[in-house]
Amino acid sequence: MKIMIDAREVMAYPGETILEVCRRENIFIPTLCYHPAFKGQGACRMCMVEIIDSSGQKRLVASCTYPVSDGLKVITSSEKIKKTRKTLAMLIAGRSQASPFAQEIAEEYKVKPLFFKGFENEKCILCRLCINACEEMGSAVLAAVSRGVDKRIETPYAEGAEECIGCKACAEICPTGAIEVKEENGQRIIWHKTFDLIKCANCGKEFATPEQIKFIEDKTGRKMEKFLCEGCRKRQTAEVIKEFSV
């Protein structure tokens, strides 16, 4: 099907969202809670765009969840969209006061954050990408706890969870550095739980937890012969390819 984005005609497929089409067409839309690996959540609302319906009325929709339909007309930049994003930036930076990432957003949109009391050490913007990542890993130990203005990301009872394998996929996907990971003396501490770290057989870097290795082995059904960190594994693969191409 064809849809119009900013007066430009582009191809779209049923089941796609506006944001997915825009990403493919290199049309920029800012997002905080979106990651191509997961379904759109519609939580941060930074990706709001305007659509024009059949009667000519404009309205704001979240591009990460709005499904395309034939002949859809989309505007990705307007005064209204700008104002919305500005205010959202002001609120996000006001909440996540300790996060340089959030403060940069405020700077980018040239707004003065409205600093909330009691949030001086807050980094999290509640984008929930960590929850998605953890679920994807199959552990699902993170939850959006409580509701309303008290919403926060936690493990149940704020304790180390049985299922947590210390893979830190949550910390890696977190845009604000809100998830604390401590690595020292051969151990990793994350989400109230301490893990031993395994060294890379090649370079000696501590890179994974035994739980993580076991998880990968269970998933692939293959025993790992040699524990290699990501860098070394890539290098090894490259060597193999080189050998074959000679």
Partner: protein
């Protein structure tokens, strides 16, 4: 500390509640309601067993338990003062009743006295707006409560000698 015998009884109770429902996700809420009624809160063992029974991660069950207002993750007092703070009650002075309760019991909504006898909660609306302001203690409804009544009501439940720490 919960004694081993109590724990055994609790697990049996949890089992009994679960036996009333098929292991499907949609009964999580109903099971939690029953647990809340039985124990006055949702015990950790209850949530863990429920998650296992239904086959969902504990995080999901915990998220629900913390999301819905009907549930409490810590034990509530023997007598729960539910102060209605619906609009009708609010404009008729429920805020002052909460203050008076604080003066008498030394606790705020959501808290329980150290001896485990009293808890205070605010509720949105009990639908008894014509009787505003309303305070419900366990199942008994007190209508058109004025600040001076608060102490009298507490006395009905054995009274409470708060040390007067909050007399400011």
């Amino acid at each position: 500390m919960v004694k081993a015998a109590d724990e055994g009884k609790m697990l049996a109770d949890i089992r009994e509640i679960l036996d009333n429902y098929p292991p499907e996700e949609r009964y999580i809420l109903a099971v939690m309601q029953d647990m809340q009624k039985r124990f006055n809160y949702l015990p950790k063992a209850g949530l863990k067993t429920l998650a296992f029974y239904v086959g969902v991660p504990l995080s999901r069950v915990y998220a629900m338990a913390s999301f819905y207002k009907a549930f409490s993750l810590t034990p509530k007092g023997q007598y729960v003062f539910r102060v209605c703070d619906g609009t009708a009650c609010h404009i008729k002075g429920s805020k002052i009743l909460i203050e008076q309760l604080y003066k008498c019991l030394g606790i705020r909504p959501g808290e329980t006295t150290p001896d485990g006898r009293f808890s205070i909660e605010t509720v949105n609306c009990l639908g008894a707006c014509a009787l505003a302001p309303v305070v419900v203690v366990n199942d008994r409804v007190y209508a058109k409560v004025i600040p001076g009544d608060v102490e009298k009501i507490i006395r009905e439940y054995g009274g409470y000698a708060h040390e007067g720490k909050n007399e400011d």
